[in-house]
């Protein structure tokens, strides 16, 4: 039997009913009855377009949001309804890496401080000297020179900042990481480096990951399984090789067909090619 680190059962989330001065907004289902099972040491790709609920699902998995219904089991513990105090000891084991490292690194703190702040919060730093050693080894882990310890975020390049974001998530030696669109703002040359770094870290540290992306090509590089989300529902879920070679759901096929591969292909722009129905007439964003 495979060892499942994270499992969700009929996980759902709805933004609560809003009552405004002029109108009442019905609760909106953003994530609908999602069943996932992430084996220990594997990477699951969550793919969807804007509004598919992929980010909300990611935030549920790390319990930044509380599910409306359904459950989340982390290492055998039901965390879906856990109160914050009970959740706290688990926080160190579950980390999230955000899309925009620029806004998730404190601009007023030197990198060394940012990297070791989680250790301090969780009471894992005894001495001042420890801090510099730990920060240096974290930088080394993500392929950054130790000399960056005393630098501020604005002194780093985009790729370096994203590496720093990864290093901070790794500070507490988590078992499980949710990475939300972490390569989408990067240049191609930087992106490939970050993807290969994540692959290497996963092999070295035995990390279990959920990798959220709108880009199927990127997912193929890193993930073992893929779940395709549309309007908050998982429409297709399976091993990466199968999804790419034999997509079952029409939406998955549309997504794959829409990716412009860097090959000249006359006819790709022809009107006869399928136009996705949901785009025919957009509603308010």
């Amino acid at each position: 039997m495979t060892d499942i680190l994270l499992r969700t059962g009929s996980l759902s989330f709805a933004y609560p009913e809003r009552t405004g001065l002029f109108r009442r907004k019905a609760p909106r289902d953003v994530v609908k009855r999602v069943d996932l099972a992430v084996p220990r040491g594997s990477v699951l790709g969550l793919v969807g377009e804007s509004g598919s609920g992929k980010t909300t699902l990611g935030r549920l998995l790390v319990r930044l949001l509380r599910p409306t219904s359904g459950g989340i089991q982390f290492d055998g513990i039901e965390i879906g309804g856990l109160a914050e105090a009970a959740m706290r000891p688990l926080r160190a084991r579950i980390q999230m890496i955000f899309q925009d490292p620029q806004s998730s690194l404190n601009p007023r703190l030197r990198l060394g401080v940012t990297l070791t702040r989680p250790l301090q919060v969780h009471g894992r730093l005894q001495q001042r000297r420890d801090r510099r050693d730990r920060a240096a080894s974290l930088l080394d882990l993500v392929g950054l020179p130790a000399g960056l310890i005393d630098r501020y975020p604005h002194e780093l390049s985009g790729g370096q900042r994203q590496r720093a974001g990864i290093a901070r998530a790794l500070a507490l030696e988590p078992d499980f990481i949710v990475a939300d669109e972490i390569v989408s703002g990067l240049d191609v040359s930087t992106q490939a480096h970050i993807l290969l770094l994540l692959r290497e870290l996963r092999a070295r540290l035995g990390l279990t990951m959920v990798f959220i992306s709108h880009d199927l090509s990127v997912v193929r590089v890193l993930c073992d399984d893929v779940a395709i989300l549309q309007h908050g529902e998982v429409v297709e879920y399976g091993p990466v090789a199968r999804i790419f070679s034999a997509p079952q759901h029409a939406y998955t096929r549309q997504l794959l067909a829409a990716i412009p591969l860097p090959d000249v292909e006359p006819g790709w722009l022809d009107d006869s090619s399928p136009i996705v129905p949901s785009l025919q007439q957009g509603s308010a964003a």
Binding site: E49, D215, V264, L269, L279
Partner: protein
């Protein structure tokens, strides 16, 4: 036939004196009538700066140090301001990157298109609105009359981008600068937007300079391409040749570093940092040379 756009040995720098930095280091490119050329590069390559230079929209602290930009044989840099103003928006148009911030949030869609038509083509208010509705149906917006009365926040991102495309082609320009127009869009929407740009280009006969970082987008919509790095042209040619047989190591490295949905993970090769370092070293060597040369 005259060349639609001709850029020759264009040098642009930002800042003054000791603090100035070169962003374009002698860029040349040509665009024939109806040609779609991809201008490809990563951040800092100067691709948007080139598009802005052509549009006369360089930031205030930027200087054109040398070079020539000619539109249909006329020198754009030396041209008097009133004459340039008559060209921009009418003969030379822009499809901007960000559909969220490029429309006026407090004006209805119809009014924003109409003001363009009234200003450049001298249409009456009624004619301008009728033409605006036609333009919206050209970009596959159903029920255009209803959309004319909406505010930008009431329509989706993909639809806003289609409105901007309609505006770019509104006055039958002969040159359109498309500055990463699909970067913010989902792939399925991106495909539709690219289809529309191609359809309108054919109908209106415009040449398009398509600024992008995405080699996939270039492959699908551009007949020719120019690869830019550190403000220098590293390679240019027919897209089909450049992608199949890239001559410059940087182009080859970019292709190898682009994840592909049709290939397994093992095929991915990141760009060697030493290559990037040597390209920047070469760019800075050129800077020193031109600083020493008598002006």
């Amino acid at each position: 036939m005259t060349t639609t756009l001709s850029v020759q040995d264009l040098h642009v720098s930002i800042g003054k004196g000791a603090h100035s930095a070169n962003v374009l280091r002698g860029v040349s490119l040509e665009l024939g009538p109806g040609e779609v050329r991809g201008l490809v590069g990563e951040s800092g390559a100067g691709k948007s700066m080139l598009g802005r230079a052509v549009l006369g929209l360089l930031p205030a602290n930027a200087t054109i140090a040398a070079g020539r930009i000619a539109f249909e044989g006329r020198d754009l840099i030396a041209m008097p301001e009133p004459e340039r103003r008559r060209l921009f928006g009418r003969r030379i148009a822009l499809i901007p990157q960000d559909p969220m911030t490029s429309l006026n949030p407090v004006k209805r869609v119809g009014a924003q298109i109409a003001i363009l038509l009234r200003h450049h083509l001298g249409l009456s208010k009624r004619d301008a609105l009728a033409r605006a509705a036609e333009l919206l149906s050209e970009v596959a917006i159903r029920d255009p009359r209803r959309v004319l009365d909406l505010y930008p926040h009431e329509i989706s991102g993909g639809m806003r981008q289609r409105v901007l495309i309609a505006m770019a082609f509104a006055c039958d320009p002969s040159l359109v600068i498309a500055d990463e127009p699909t970067t913010a869009l989902d792939v399925t929407v991106q495909r539709q937007v690219l289809q529309l740009v191609e359809r309108l280009r054919q109908r209106h006969g415009a040449a398009v300079l398509f600024v992008t970082h995405d080699l996939g987008v270039v492959a699908k919509i551009c007949r020719t391409m120019t690869v830019l790095h550190a403000g220098r042209v590293l390679e240019e040619g027919e897209t089909v040749d450049v992608l199949a047989k890239p001559r410059h190591p940087y182009t080859r490295a970019l292709l190898a570093a682009t994840p592909r949905a049709d290939r397994p993970a093992e095929a991915l090769r990141p760009v060697p940092p030493a290559l990037i370092d040597s390209l920047w070293a070469e760019a800075h060597r050129l800077d020193r040379l031109s600083a020493m040369a008598p002006s």
